[in-house]
Subunit: 319 residues, 2 copies
């Protein structure tokens, strides 16, 4: 709380990246942005090519002990199983209903997306986004005790703002469902819905009361993780990011893809090493999320961002 107050005071005077601690990471961020935006610099990148891609879970908002969409699923599945006996018998759903945290943490992320898809099948894409928005703007994180809309990383929002004012176009590339993140991307991150790339389900084009809608089907068409994250960025953007930021092994392909282009690039890997201001998770506790990542960051010269050392404050101040 003290740190946040300091950060808030500093922000009034300190310009961009106020919630970042002084140090090599913050300097590197400023230096990168300056080098690619300074006309005449050898690293200069024209504005249309200034693409930045951010993972969401664990990068822009909290991902621990469960990803945000898992909490959404917890709330939604209780309602749904009343009408779907087969779903109630699914072992993963049993873990959900038992609130078995260990089992839920071990659950494959793809499986969570599949269950969200299954639970909401038959809704239109627009209805799904609306339900997600209602939930995201009213629910509270059970472990952190703050609204989910306040579980975003303030330093990352400031980095996004700094990039945006420097002529970058920002994308969120998330393993979560695209409608789920679009529901709040404009208010939380100022990222237009069109710039959210996520997992998506098959849909069926139907008319309801003479009005065309897209009904979601209980089948994941693309799980936007690992290699798919790189190919979906190519599909949606048509340009390689020159800056990419992730926090788990699911982001490594995206980071490699960003690095594979010509000219100056910046790859960031957020390391959750702060067990006091948030719940810690790294290779000891969450091997599925960040196993090879730290080694790869080291081998490839990526910038590891430490929550503990680089974030002066973690979350937005409550006012």
């Amino acid at each position: 709380m003290h740190l946040q107050t300091v950060a808030r005071r500093k922000k009034r005077f300190a310009g961009p990246l106020a919630s970042w601690s002084e140090g090599s990471t913050k300097r590197a961020l400023f230096e990168f942005v300056r080098s690619v935006t300074t006309r005449g610099s050898v690293d200069f990148v024209p504005a249309p090519d200034r693409i930045a891609a951010f993972d969401d879970d664990g990068t822009l908002w909290v991902d621990s002990p469960l990803c945000v969409q898992a909490y959404f699923l917890l709330d939604r599945v209780t309602e749904r199983i009343k009408h779907d006996r087969a779903l109630a018998a699914d072992p993963d759903v049993v873990s959900l209903l038992d609130r078995d945290l260990g089992a839920l943490q071990a659950m494959d992320r793809r499986r969570i997306v599949e269950l969200v898809t299954r639970v909401h099948a038959g809704l239109t894409t627009e209805e799904l986004e609306e339900i997600a928005r209602d939930w995201l703007t009213s629910a509270t994180h059970p472990h952190l005790g703050r609204p989910f809309t306040q579980c975003v990383y303030q330093p990352m929002r400031e980095l996004m703002d700094h990039l945006r004012t420097s002529g970058f176009t920002l994308y969120v590339a998330t393993g979560a469902g695209v409608e789920f993140v679009r529901a709040v991307s404009e208010t939380l991150y100022r990222v237009p819905k069109a710039n959210v790339i996520g997992s998506w389900s098959k849909t069926r084009f139907v008319e309801r009361d003479g009005r065309a809608v897209l009904e979601t089907l209980p089948e994941v068409e693309s799980f936007d993780d690992r290699e798919a994250k790189a190919s979906n960025i190519a599909l949606h953007v048509g340009r390689r990011p020159i800056l990419a930021c992730g926090s788990s092994d699911g982001d490594l392909a995206m980071l490699r893809y960003a690095q594979g282009g010509p000219g100056r690039r910046m790859m960031l890997l957020l390391h959750h090493d702060d067990g006091e201001r948030e719940l810690p998770y790294d290779r000891s506790s969450r091997t599925d999320r960040l196993g090879e990542g730290l080694d790869e960051a080291c081998a490839r010269g990526w910038t590891v961002v430490s929550v503990k050392h680089d974030f002066a404050s973690v979350f937005p101040s409550s006012r």
Copy 2:
């Protein structure tokens, strides 16, 4: 030629839509844009929701007697079959090599996209875009005798400009390959590559010389036509278009999807009824392209744009 000269002169004085003939269609376009952009109007639409989607083949550029990508394929396949005997034996490829116009016109559009994918498999998405750009900026339309970059409909470009200056965000939604259209979308239409939605192939994430690339595989992942066109717009944009413009039965789902949203919308169907200034194609000659469209436009109250009556000039002037 006379008409084009007149149009060019008029454009200097006449403001937007100079290449459109005076009449009910031009008035309707102006009226629609005015109504959704006038603050206080019951039809007012905030800028982020001003989404317009345009088909490409037959809507923004010429599609007759063959689609542009078919000419690309004709040139590319000749080179490719030297190394691919199985491809040379494919009956559709035989039609291509025979320059059998009737067979090529009857060929399913999906098949053309599949053959383009097959011919270019193994290239990276970036290489494919580069090859398409080289070709598109150097090849000449064999029947019209003008560069392909001059085979765009000038009135449509002016409509896009008018929408853009009125705060609209424009998308091209094409059945052609996404890399193919991205290769020229920024120069021809001023539409950013990220705003091109098209057909796409499966890709494989690989490293070449330590550099991550996306290699295309010989399999179409999504053929962006009919119902897929609507669902791919939802996937890429996250908002329904309030204006959609197409020219074939493959666009009807997109037009219905645009119409299905709340508030004022505009659906345009381009009718190629001018056999003098371009090659004519409608239900008599190209049943596969515009069969139900005209009836549906009438039944649903869409605006039919007549090349003959609504386009004062068709193509850009050569200077």
